[in-house]
Symmetry: C2
Subunit: 220 residues, 2 copies
């Protein structure tokens, strides 16, 4: 059947991940549905899914809101990332085939020159996510991968800001993690992944804390 609802879903999903909605303001269903060229019914279905995924917040009788972006939330989501991704890389060390590992090495060398100052931050974040998801995929556990993906979407906006000052060292950190995987050293891989994420957590949280008021300035 037609994919109108999925189209709406993807659009609203992106809008939510990009924080195109003002926090603490209800999302006007009629207006948004007109804007997206659909009626309220499929829009509400999409927003219900996004609520379950944590990208939106729902208050009965009041409507849907963008998830509030607080330093606490960022800390919590990074902790979740840490738990999931350390488990994932541990499984990856055990289960990955040599060809899978070769593919990641290829990816790293292919993209090495793009980790430069000229590259847009969003592009860097995209590459970063892709690398992490490749590793997570080697765990062979799609549930794990899904949860990691979801967590990414909820903090992507922060990462666009936080990544600005970290472009240069991201690639070398990834290489460092990858080498432990390549050497089939589960402990080192896990430790390096944990350190990597903890570092980003500290930075992202600091930035959100500092920019807390700025982030909430109306964006229209």
């Amino acid at each position: 059947m037609s994919t109108s609802v999925d189209l709406v879903y993807e659009q609203v999903r992106q809008m939510a991940a990009n924080f195109e909605f003002k926090p603490a303001e209800r999302i006007n269903e009629s207006e948004l549905s007109k804007q997206l060229g659909a009626s309220r019914t499929p829009l509400r279905e999409a927003m219900n899914r996004l609520t379950a995924e944590g990208l939106l917040v729902f208050e009965p009788g009041r409507g849907f809101f963008c998830q509030p972006l607080t330093p606490e939330l960022v800390v919590h989501l990074y902790e979740v990332r840490e738990a999931l991704e350390t488990a994932a890389i541990r499984a990856a060390v055990e289960r990955a085939g040599d060809d899978d590992i070769a593919a990641i090495r290829q990816f790293l060398s292919d993209t090495a020159e793009r980790y430069a100052d000229g590259t847009p931050t969003k592009e860097i974040v995209r590459l970063d996510e892709e690398f992490h998801l490749m590793i997570a995929g080697l765990s062979g556990n799609p549930e794990l991968v899904n949860m990691i993906k979801l967590t990414y979407e909820r903090i992507r906006y922060v990462r666009w800001i936080a990544m600005r000052e970290r472009i240069d060292i991201t690639h070398s950190a990834h290489l460092h993690i990858f080498e432990a995987l390549e050497n089939r050293d589960a402990q080192a891989a896990e430790d390096r992944m944990r350190t990597h994420i903890k570092t980003h957590n500290a930075e992202a949280t600091e930035i959100v804390g500092k920019a807390y008021s700025n982030l909430y300035v109306p964006q229209h």
Copy 2:
């Protein structure tokens, strides 16, 4: 405003967690909505949320289905549990107050005598989940707790079956985990939690593997 949609949501959620729907058969929206005394609109909203939570599966143009219950899924979800709960207890050791720990000791002694052969399996599973969620709560990370809760709901049905033969040792295992927490021994707590979940994983997976065909026998 009225909470009709939330009522429907809770009911369908329970039905899905209890596997009252036949797998591989589409859920008839009109029929179910009549049965629940609501119209299709709030029912579909509820089912969309449950789809995002992983309790239902949605195929465009065909409708909603119960999540398929396979040995692979059970393994994957238990791995997720392991990742999340080991992280949670590690955080709990660091952050829990002495009074929080006392509350858990109280809970364990209060419920000790109910871990007996006469108690219904569902009740045991409920107590088990409550214990684990109390510990997870001490992590101070609501996102972590939410994900753990969700994972529970997706494997609860299996646990009802798998728990039958494990009633006696569950309580002592919990005590063992708790003591490491009480001693503020993060490593021991994490290790014991991991072992605990791995054991259950192996058992549950085995049971699903054995009962695979039986579970899918039409239940009408």
